[in-house]
Symmetry: C2
Subunit: 245 residues, 2 copies
DNA sequence: TAGTGGTCTAGACCACCAT
DNA sequence: TGGTGGTCTAGACCACTAG
């Protein structure tokens, strides 16, 4: 389609800015694996020529994608698909920090992995009630100290054979490189709750101890919810950081 | 200074992009009251002509300021200094939402206002230990239900005679319009704690009930810390929302 | 209808990086 | 040294708002 024709169809159909259309095309290429995490993108003029738009329009699309942590620019080298490396997880998805000292990526120990029908999880993940759900329980440590107990729910069809795999510390990297599911953003709801006897024994506290409960839904690049995670945290030496900007 | 001269001084001193210099000039005008909250800014070409830069550079500065909620653009009308109206507070600074139902601005009831030496607060606010600090206690309600008990600490020299004023529900609007102190952003640390007997009686819960403790430092446009706030929240029917993007 | 911000284009020059 | 992203400029046209 020529530029003139495209402009006309924009007028007749619902209007979307050209740079947003470019952005969606580029995101689709990351989501479907055409461009893998860590891979170098074509240069801005190359993308512009291929899509028949001006370089400034590609630049504006990449500006937004940089702000969303979907790509990383390195001056003099190029633009790369963002990877879920530990540093990014720590910055974007892990908000629990020691009250004093430097931020740290937590170590994890898997307690069990099961799967089956789980209607509540299916509902939270936008799936049919009887679809198979994988449930992963683990504890996490910061500074060698146990502080998080969490349960993770996943739609089984997106993560085939996950039960039979080695479960690494960095799950979002596994989702991306092992199953082609890239987490783009997440939404968390926080409450203060009292530890049950069971939870208390895992976290080595008394029953009834106040815990921070984090209820997270994580979304893939195509905006589908793909993970439901409930984390229980003892916050006697760590806190949850939230910046309001 | 001509453009050529400015370019040379940029090279010799530490380099800062022109659009960031423009941004800082514009923020300064908001911070010092040259442009009041709600006021219409000059048009982009006018600002560009006055500062002797191209319109695109002004646009990029305003792009960033829009993303930071410092100004609001309205197509066809102009660009306005952002106001701390209830809608903005609700969106940017008040993250406690009902578990079901629509977001709502909380009502407040002031318990007491005092002032005096408060070394811990002075330290958190970057002031000298003996500087006078105003302390404001209040409770807040959502849906007619009492759910937050909070203590707010302010450097007295920035808020003269605040003790003798009517204290409105929307404090950040008061800071801006009554004292010329505009809050730009804030940082919160969250923990789960057990209610003391005193706290429990205010919040109408049993002593030991888990509460969400929010420890906030709020910063003015010049990046000085100007408010320290500790909020204790019962989260049986509300939660704290955090979006990870 | 006039004026504003929103979008798109086009091209120049600079800073940074790999080689 | 060549290629990349980073910055800055200049101007056209469109969509929205107010009068």
């Amino acid at each position: 389609m020529s530029r003139a024709q495209r402009a006309i169809s924009d007028l007749k159909l619902g209007f979307r800015p050209l740079y947003r259309q470019v952005r969606e095309i580029l995101i689709k290429r990351i989501a479907d694996g055409t461009w893998q995490p860590g891979q170098l993108l074509p240069s801005e003029p190359e993308i512009a020529a291929e899509l028949d738009v001006s370089p400034g329009t590609v630049r504006k699309a990449l500006d937004e994608m940089t702000a969303e942590n979907l790509v990383v620019r390195r001056q003099g080298r190029g633009t790369f698909v963002a990877r879920h490396d530990d540093a990014r997880i720590l910055f974007q998805f892990f908000k629990l920090l020691p009250d004093s000292g430097t931020p740290e990526f937590p170590e994890s120990k898997v307690l069990r992995v099961t799967s089956g029908v789980h209607e509540e999880a299916a509902g939270r993940l936008g799936r049919q009630p009887k679809e198979r759900i994988i449930v992963l329980d683990r504890v996490r440590m910061l500074g060698g100290r146990l502080c998080v107990l969490e349960r993770i729910h996943l739609p089984a069809f997106l993560f085939p054979e996950l039960e039979n795999r080695e479960i690494p510390n960095n799950l979002y990297q596994l989702y991306a490189t092992g199953f082609g599911v890239t987490i783009g953003h997440a939404s968390e709801q926080l409450k203060a709750v009292a530890a049950t006897a069971d939870e208390a024994s895992y976290l080595q506290v008394d029953a009834g101890t106040p815990l921070l409960r984090i209820d997270r839904i994580a979304f893939a690049l195509d905006e589908r919810p793909v993970e439901w995670r409930v984390s229980l945290c003892r916050t006697d030496r760590i806190h949850y950081l939230s910046d309001l900007r």
